[in-house]
């Protein structure tokens, strides 16, 4: 190891360490779902769902509302359990660090606690794990820097814009250094400009940390811009009809022809598509 790297590490008390080490792409999948079934009473919500997610990948779950994609996310989060099938989340990290969580959940609403400042909101997960105070501050500050909110550490949520609130919520999910980040339509309440800013933010963080993410969306553009793989859901009963890989270089611009073509072809695969692809095209 070079001398420079060592001194840089000594200077900063805690660096943002990649959550998962890359170069393990050929390893067995981080998430493996096999034959997942889930019913609420007589209603069959998910039937025979298979899905594999490699470490470091971003996967989109897309489909019309009521197709069970949120239920699948809840199963991944451990907030719900499947009736049949197996869900394995590979144990790959050693050693365990305090306040680390295997999965983190980013909700549709930011759910910032109004009585807490931004930094105290971000620290919530570390407090829950009883991480010691100085380490907590250090990790919270690093995370705020990562999402560009370090100047607003002492602000209360009501003083923030929608995009900043969203970034604070993202920092709160990431500070527990999850192996998998689950996002349930996290940017759907933002205006389109702020939303694309958040997309860039998320991809930037993905590049820095190498995190694995699974997100639910009904926005085809969002899925194509962010994801490595798009799992297409069909409703009644909810099932995955196809897994579409998006093999385009990032950043993906909506002005790019290859991107728009992928968006159009994905729209064609969704049964709820209100704008069918022109026939013969």
């Amino acid at each position: 190891m070079s001398r420079q790297a060592v001194s840089a590490q000594a200077e900063t008390k805690c660096l943002v360490i990649p959550f998962v080490d890359r170069g393990l792409k050929k390893a067995p999948p981080l998430i493996r779902l096999q034959g997942i079934c889930k019913s609420f009473g007589p209603l069959e919500v998910l039937t025979n769902v298979d899905l594999q997610v490699q470490a470091g990948e971003i996967t989109a779950l897309i489909g019309s509302s009521g197709c069970g994609k949120s239920t699948l996310l809840n199963i991944l989060a451990g907030l719900d359990t499947q009736d049949h099938g197996t869900y394995t989340l590979a144990e790959r990290r050693n050693p365990e660090k305090a306040g680390r969580q295997r999965v983190a959940y980013m909700f549709q609403e930011d759910r910032l606690l109004p009585w807490r400042t931004v930094q105290d909101n971000v620290a919530l997960g570390l407090e829950a794990a009883r991480v010691e105070k100085t380490e907590r501050h250090c990790r919270v500050y690093d995370m705020l820097k990562l999402v560009g909110l370090e100047e607003f550490a002492g602000a209360f949520p009501y003083q923030l814009s929608g995009g900043m609130r969203s970034r604070a919520a993202l920092a709160r999910s990431l500070v527990v250094e999850p192996e998998v980040l689950l996002l349930d339509e996290p940017f759907s309440k933002l205006d389109s400009q702020t939303r694309s800013q958040m997309h860039a933010e998320l991809l930037n963080i993905h590049a820095v940390t190498g995190m694995t993410a699974v997100f639910v969306t009904h926005d085809v553009e969002e899925a194509v811009v962010l994801a490595d793989n798009v799992a297409v859901f069909a409703p009644r009963p909810g099932r995955i009809t196809e897994i579409v890989p998006v093999e385009l270089a990032r950043p993906r611009s909506l002005l790019d022809k290859s991107v728009t073509e992928q968006i159009r072809s994905l729209r064609g695969k969704l049964s709820f598509n209100p704008y069918p692809a022109p026939s013969g095209g």
């Binding site: 989060a77 907030l79 969580q101 983190a104 959940y105 909700f107 609403e109 759910r111 606690l113 109004p114 009585w115 807490r116 400042t117 919530l124 997960g125 407090e127 829950a128 794990a129 209360f156 949520p157 009501y158 003083q159 527990v176």
Partner: protein, 252 residues
Amino acid sequence: MKPSAHIARRLLLATLVLAVWWAASSRVPSFVLPGPYAVLQAFSSLLHTPTFLQDVGATLARVGIGFFLAAAAGTALGVVMGASRALADFLEPVVAVFNTVSSAIWAVFAIIWFGLSDASTVMVVFMTTMPLMLTSVWNGTKTVDKQYVELAKSFNMSRLQILAKIYVPTVLPSFFAGARLAFGFGWRVSLVAETIGASSGIGYRLRQAADLIQSSQVFAWTILLIMFMLLIEAGVLKPLEKALFRWKPSPE
């Protein structure tokens, strides 16, 4: 609003009140309405009465104890009723009954049960303020956001952590509003209780002054009480509220 205009209005109001008071008092016998000067004299002699501090202290202690017990019991019951719907449904009529019974009735019962003692006043304060605290805290528990609880669960928080980090901060504003209301209420009913159920304290002195038709004394006590409450409001409650609820957007 300009602060100078604000002060000018306040001064104008004070002058008007004094003028009307003075004009009215010069037309009626002094036992009906004593003039401002007579009241000022009574006020200064009141401050020099040897039993003055004892009386104020006795009343304060009774209100304090009654209020403290009511806050503790009311908060505990409010939380329990917030946690259990069945229990809340069961106890709701009791709360309603307690809220309708006049403090004068509690005072009469207090004398029957405890005679002329500190306990009488404490009981009256407790009985009238406890339902207020209970209702406030109970309403506060209803405002707890399920989404925040779900968030806490996604971080694997224990029940105790959820209570401390989600429930307590949510209920605190209601608790504070209830406590402010209850303290003001307790302070007023304590005087009613003391006029019939005590042999010391401010209420007792008021009753004495009334019996001897010393109207200026009654006025002096009244002014003292008003000043005391304003002092608590400006010196304790307002700063405390500001410090506790910094996170609330200030209303425009």
